[in-house]
Amino acid sequence: MPLAIKHLLGLEGVSREDVTLILDTADSFFEVLQRDIPQVPTLRGRTIVNLFFENSTRTRMSFELAEKRLSASPLNFSTSTSSVAKGESLRDTMRNIEAMKIDMVVVRHGAAGVPSFLTRCTDAAIVNAGDGLHEHPTQALLDMMTIRQRFGKLSGLKVAIIGDVLHSRVARSNAWGMTTMGMDVTLCGPPTLLPQHPRALGVRVTDSMDEALRDANVVMLLRLQLERQGAGLFPSIREYRERYGLDLDKLNKLPGDIVVMHPGPINRGIELASNVADSDKSVILDQVTNGVAVRMAVLFLLGGGENA
């Protein structure tokens, strides 16, 4: 019954059984987080390195908390204070850290494929915490956990993922994971911000928000990466907000049991109106809580027994 995968590099190619096992295990860890003493001794004595080559508050804190809740020892690494700044290569960094006897590596990097590269430099289990425009698998897992909590199932649900899909590793991981779990995924955004080959992902694509929202059970807004506005991919933030932002008027036209999600950080008043983000339809803070439980489950399942 263990996971078929030895590393979590992405959700592409991960089986339905593996995703289900991670989500079931995460539900049990969710219960641990509700206790007075929300900590279990499971990974006592294990060292987990958090290798963050790219900025992150939420994901890094979430992983670190998950590690502490499992009684593992986290070791934090960020580029600005490390010898990467002195020009050390990725392989050397990894091999040096490994020589300190570590058990698992959580890595975030601006370049796609770095987690996969690291599996060839070390025997430790690797968990991808976001690599370039490629994948962010734990985010997609926590999204699916949150949806399953609300609806009691995943299969057959319809999800609209709206925004800058092209630059979103969250959208990509969700597309892989959700289609594996039998969900119906529609990606929506300005044509310039949609992927070129959506059929490879097994999803539908549209530039009309109305069409994406039709019969949707879940609407997930993506962060508009404001730093990309200079690239001329969309005319103006105001026009983007009009066409692809979710405000109260649009929300009220949707079915009563619609669930609004956002991977954060939110640009309030652009992709998501403030009163929508704080409405009872929003599960954004549940996503954050579930993120710790999902990461505990991933670390537990990858760190166990002989396969570590």
């Binding site: 860890f29 219960e31 641990v32 279990v40 499971t42």
Partner: protein, 182 residues
């Protein structure tokens, strides 16, 4: 694994649970101070039955809690196959109560050790008492049961298996023998 001997049929099993329920009340006359917690998975069914029997005897309403000790096992590093993490749900405050921990089989004592550590994270009961249907003897830790259905001396290549209506369609307790390849 093959069935070697029937240790208890449905009637014997029920009688053992009735006796254990009475013994629990003998030692803890005030049922309001009691909390029953069953260990995943078979202990849960036994705990529910004991809770129902005590509730009927004392005209009160006891609900059995559920404890999964997977996260507290001491063989996580060595385990060849990973045990599935199951649900823990203790719907009452365990601080200050007389907590009856229920499991089907007491053998090495390692599961009970893990359970004691797990309960520690939920609070500080006044007492923790252990009720088991079968005591297999052969302990690896200084742990004993307060309430025992039956004591069975077994060999290393044997196992005790409980069947319950809720899962297996019948109530029975079997001595099993491991066969080559098990």
């Amino acid at each position: 694994m093959k069935q070697l001997e029937l240790l208890m049929d449905a009637t014997a099993l029920d009688r053992a649970l009735i006796r254990i329920s009475h013994q629990i009340l003998e030692k803890n006359p005030d049922a309001k101070t009691l909390g029953i917690v069953g260990m995943q998975t078979r202990g849960v069914y036994l705990a529910r039955r004991i809770a129902a029997k005590i509730s009927a005897l004392e005209k009160t309403k006891l609900t059995a809690g559920v404890l999964d000790i997977t996260m507290y096992r001491d063989d996580y590093r060595m385990a060849l196959k990973q045990p599935k993490v199951k649900v823990t749900n203790i719907p009452f405050d365990i601080n200050g109560i007389n907590l009856i921990l229920v499991d089907d089989v007491l053998y090495t004592g390692r599961t009970v050790r893990a359970a004691l550590e797990a309960l520690n994270d939920f609070g500080r009961p006044k007492t923790i008492q252990l009720a088991v249907l079968v005591d297999r003897d052969d302990r690896e830790m200084p742990i004993r049961a307060d309430y025992t259905g039956q004591t069975v001396t077994t060999r290393k290549n044997q196992e005790v298996a409980l069947k319950v209506k809720e899962v297996d369609g019948e109530d029975s307790l079997w001595l099993m023998e491991l066969e080559q390849g098990d």
